[in-house]
């Protein structure tokens, strides 16, 4: 039995008539289609889509904030925003892009594709997965309530103490920020546990760890980083919350606190966070490039190992965010060295992508363009990172626009280009519609030019001494021209995103049922588009890295690769008769995950306004947890037959009877 959230002792004897779960107030939801089903779905694909859509909505908001920032700085002495509004705008921009865009959109891809790529039917804990999503979206919306309720947070996304104390930030903004991020942190922690267990326990037979696609590997490393990094930031956020709400004095200098404690806690989280944001994007690109180069990834093992190495080394570099704080020279030297040498595994990745491209047969479709864009732009971010690692001269560049340029090349040029590569690559699999390649190319070139126009000049601004986070600047410092260029660039980036949205709208008629439009290598291309609800009809047995490619191609006697005459897809594809779902065992929908997550913002509002609401939220949380705990993960009343045993009938096909008792057909190994 796998680590599923179904406990045998709570299961009812087979065939017994079943009453509604003891705490269920409403009938247990059963619909898996229709708009209501989205609220109760535990299907990893629907949850992935919700993660992605929410993150893209936040991307639009975070982008608007960026446009406000650039509008303010376009000319000297800008008057678009007041200093207060500017500080809120950059705080919200950073917080949104890191916590509400890149983490969740990568969670979207991980949710949707990890189970499929490892041949599983769902994640290990489907209801916890739903809970992750709802905790994330409620946390994000709660954070944004601050804007409507008296002003956004104004302490920066890094929230350095003691500037975030009640004394210096008396509004409610930082409270909403702290509590909102605690909620999204709960979401990511739960999600990390879920995806780690999924990767380790739910792989199809033969899908050994070293046959996992690189995207799965990089996401797995990122989940481990999340699992260990989030508790640190959660501790820091709790300390700050207790300081602000209950006068706890953790960061009160007058009471003997050392404000550098916050910085250590924040960056012990914050640096692994960078790899959390970028490793899965590396994974996406490592999937896209081989497919569009028509050859396998160059150095799969090196790619996996360097990802793991980055995962470990990422914990030993955080003080490079604090080179100017006056921590002693030995500390600075040590972290300077670790920072230099983390460039080594990162360099390995770049070289391996180049090795994959070299002597390939490259098809420059939109996904490939974005992937190549990542390689080109991330290289710039990586190299400017090397210049930052030289601690002595970094005292000139830190906290200037030079570092703003650096991390935007990493997070925009890296993560976001990888994310859009994934969007174009996987869109047909997710939605059964093709994004237009022509519009996609326009999108790419606008985004590529926009990114360089916006972030390229920031290197020069930083070297010319423009500090970051300044709400305005005067003429006479040599900053006017490049600021204007950067602002123009930000408009180009905005246009590129509008182009993407237009492409999405435009794709509504571009219906495709082609299961494998790119001649893919991994298992998601072996099933129908869009992915059928059951993922796979039968358990998959895996024999190779790039399993699907090996099922399609064979080497002839003459050593020439040729497509096999007969290729068997793993679900009915195109116009074949869909699988009869009544024979397939799927986790049942539940409203408990959403309800228990809904308790979080209620408790949050209670902490800020009236403790009575905490009682309401607390009761909801306890009730929902009990309801959840007492609810069998599979609804015995669900449509596919009456007896419990029916649902456990082995799916026809390769699955062996031994696996039939497992909750999901994608059986654990």
């Amino acid at each position: 039995m796998a680590l599923t959230d179904e406990r045998p002792m709570l299961e009812l004897a087979a065939g017994d008539p079943v009453a509604s779960p003891p705490l269920g107030v409403f009938r247990r939801p059963q619909a898996i289609t229709g708009w209501r089903s989205w609220f109760t779905s535990v299907d990893h694909k629907k949850i992935g889509i919700m993660y992605g859509a929410s993150a893209m909505a936040f991307f639009a908001i975070g982008g608007l904030e960026a446009l406000l920032i650039r509008a303010q700085l376009a000319v000297p002495d800008g008057e678009v925003l007041s200093a207060e509004a500017y500080n809120q705008a950059f705080t919200l921009h950073g917080t949104t892009m890191v916590f509400l865009v890149i983490i969740p959109v990568l969670a979207a891809f991980a949710n949707y594709f990890i189970p499929i790529m490892i041949g599983a039917r769902d994640v290990a804990f489907p209801r916890m997965n739903a809970y992750s999503y709802w905790a994330f979206i409620f946390g994000g919306l709660f954070l944004y309530c601050s804007v409507l309720l008296g002003g956004g947070p104004d302490g920066g996304w890094f929230a350095y103490a003691p500037n975030t104390s009640v004394t210096w930030s008396p509004g409610r903004g930082m409270d909403f920020w702290t509590l909102g991020l605690i909620m999204t942190g709960i979401a990511s922690t739960v999600g990390a546990v879920n995806l780690i267990v999924t990767c380790l326990n739910m792989r199809a037979p033969g899908m050994t760890l070293l046959r996992m696609p690189v995207f799965v590997w990089m996401s797995l490393v990122a989940q481990f980083l999340l699992l260990f990094a989030l508790p640190v930031i959660t501790v820091a956020l709790f300390l700050l919350m207790f300081d602000r709400l209950f006068g706890a004095n953790f960061f009160n200098v007058d009471a003997g606190a050392d404000p550098l404690l916050w910085q250590h806690l924040f960056w012990i989280f914050g640096h692994p966070e960078v790899y959390i944001l970028v490793l899965p994007a590396f994974g996406i690109v490592s999937e896209v490039i081989p497919v569009f180069a028509r050859k396998p990834l160059f150095g799969y093992y090196a790619m996996v190992l360097s990802g793991i190495a980055i995962g470990f080394m990422g914990w030993g570099v955080w003080v490079h965010h604090m080179f100017a704080t006056g921590v002693g020279p030995v500390t600075v030297a040590a972290f300077s060295l670790t920072t230099m040498f983390i460039a080594v595994p990162t360099g390995v990745k770049i070289f391996n992508w180049l090795g994959t491209l070299w002597q390939g047969k490259l098809t420059l479709d939109a996904p490939m363009l974005f992937a190549i864009g990542l390689v080109g732009l991330f290289t710039i971010g990586g190299l400017s990172g090397v210049t930052h690692s030289v601690a002595a001269s970094d005292t000139q560049q830190t906290d200037t626009y030079y570092i703003v340029a650096h991390f935007h090349y990493v997070l925009f040029g890296g993560s976001m280009f990888g994310i859009f590569a994934g969007m174009y690559y996987w869109w047909p699999k997710i939605f059964g519609r093709l994004l237009s390649d022509r519009i996609g190319k326009v999108h790419f070139w606008l985004m590529f030019v926009g990114a360089n126009l916006t972030f390229g000049p920031m290197h020069i601004l930083g070297l010319q001494g423009m500090a970051r986070r300044q709400a305005s600047y005067s003429s006479g410092y040599g900053w006017d021209f490049w600021n204007l260029v950067a602002s123009v660039g930000s408009v180009v980036i905005a246009l590129s995103f509008l182009t993407f949205l237009y492409n999405v709208w435009h794709s509504r008629h571009a219906v495709t049922n082609d299961p494998d439009p790119w001649d893919g290598r991994t298992l998601e291309w072996a099933i129908a588009s869009p992915t059928p609800v059951q993922n796979f009809d039968a358990e998959v047995t895996v024999g190779h890295l790039d399993e699907w490619w090996h099922r399609k191609y064979e080497e002839g006697a003459d050593g020439v690769l040729r497509r096999r005459d007969e290729i068997t897809y793993l679900t009915p594809v195109r116009d074949e008769t869909p699988t009869d779902l009544s024979t397939i065992h799927l986790p049942s929908p539940s409203y408990w995950p959403m309800l228990s997550a809904l308790a979080l913002p209620i408790i949050g509002f209670g902490l800020l306004y009236t403790y009575w609401l905490c009682l309401v939220g607390g009761l909801l949380l306890v009730g929902a947890t009990y309801g959840w705990g007492l609810e069998p993960s599979v609804d015995p009343d669900a449509g596919h037959g009456h007896g419990h045993d029916d649902a456990h009938d082995p799916p026809a096909g390769e699955s062996s009877p031994a696996e039939a008792d497992d909750e999901l057909a994608g059986a654990p190994r």
């Binding site: 207060e84 050859k295 100017a324 010319q464």
Partner: protein, 365 residues
């Protein structure tokens, strides 16, 4: 794609690169008073050279990597209709080891050349001239204790840090509220000013002159307006400046200029003296915030008109342009909130009162 098109693309890329280069060079020619690559001290010089060296190494890697990337894209494009496969290489351990060695060698060289500079940077010589820097929202106070290079008593000034040319100046830095960061880019890098700690930094100027700087750590609403200025003098001029600063101001005589006398009285009536100290005149500062005589809650106004800027160096008091100085200072008295987030509190003043206050402040030179 057909060859002519890729040729055109190459041309486009070349033109774009050239354009960027020209623009970058022309931008560097701009007057940039905080340019980190235009050092005015041996400290900043070393950082500039260190950065340039590593930057050039990074540029070399950049050219190789991006060159290979562009070459791969141009060279290995699939022609439409070609469904054959390239060689299915899974990688080559020897190539990968060589590639692994590349970054290791480069980073080792960078490490060897740079680690020593960290220890140099932290090394502040004992014979340096000591100045205590106090950062607070949103301005800087500088106290000069009596020491070898400074005869006579301790004194305090604000926003403008005066130093003797060619001498290392050790800054002992404390903060009254949140974290700030002292940064005069042409003289050295930046060092944070952390409440509850004393951090040490050093600066030096090779030539006399005025060097711009600013607070480099986000410190609240007015962070953008927490600027600073370092004025370097020849030693003789510096000694002269010190002697001038050490002199106490005198109390205006009742029989002197009536406007000045009225301003002097207003200074107390309007409670300016509650936060601002004027040595020899208003010495008891009643603290509205944490303050000590050497770390006043508001700038010490002794010899105010020997300074060229006020309000975190965002408002200038040009020495040679009295009307502008008067305009600026009176505008500030009318509305200190013209600097967003300013913590200066002032009651409403009539224009007469503003003129009187200005007349008094003008005598503090």
């Amino acid at each position: 794609m057909t060859p002519p098109l890729s040729g055109r693309r190459r041309w486009l890329v070349r033109t774009a690169l050239l354009a960027v280069l020209v623009l970058a060079l022309s931008a560097c020619a701009n007057d940039a008073p905080q340019d980190t690559l235009d050092p005015a001290s041996s400290f900043a010089e070393e950082l500039s050279q260190l950065f340039t060296g590593v930057f050039l190494a990074a540029t070399a890697v950049f050219i190789v990597v991006e060159g290979l990337l562009i070459a791969a894209v141009l060279k290995f494009r699939r022609t439409p209709g070609d469904d054959s496969f390239p060689t299915q290489s899974h990688g080559n351990p020897r190539t990968e080891l060589v590639l692994l060695a590349g970054p290791i060698v480069i980073m080792t060289v960078v490490a060897i050349f740079s680690v020593g500079t960290i220890f140099e940077q932290f090394d502040v010589p004992d014979d340096a001239l000591d100045v205590t820097v106090t950062g607070q929202k949103y301005w800087w106070a500088y106290s000069y204790p009596e020491q070898d290079g400074i005869a006579g008593g301790e004194f305090t000034t604000a926003n403008e840090l005066h130093i003797p040319t060619g001498e290392t100046v050790a800054l002992e830095m404390v903060s009254q509220d949140v974290i700030h960061s002292f940064w005069a880019p042409r003289l050295n890098g930046k060092r944070d000013v952390v409440p509850g700690r004393t951090t040490t930094w050093k600066i030096k100027a090779s030539e006399p002159g005025v060097y711009e700087g600013q607070c480099a750590e986000f410190c609240g609403t007015s962070h953008a307006y927490m600027r600073l200025r370092v004025v370097a003098h020849d030693r003789a001029d510096f000694d002269h400046w010190v002697a001038e600063q050490q002199q106490e101001q005198s109390v205006p005589s009742e029989t002197g200029d009536p406007e000045v006398y009225a301003g002097y009285q207003l200074f107390e009536v309007k409670n300016c003296a509650g936060c601002h100290r004027v040595d020899g005149v208003y010495e008891v500062v009643e603290a509205t915030r944490r303050s000590t005589p050497t770390d006043p809650a508001a700038p010490n106004l002794t010899h105010l008109f020997s300074r060229t800027c006020i309000a975190g160096c965002t408002i200038s008091l040009p020495e040679d342009d009295e009307p502008t100085a008067r305009n600026n200072l009176e505008a500030w008295l009318r509305d200190p909130q013209s600097k967003p987030g300013s913590l200066m509190v002032i009651g409403e003043l009539s224009e007469t009162e503003i003129d009187q206050l200005y007349a008094y402040l003008r005598t503090l030179d």
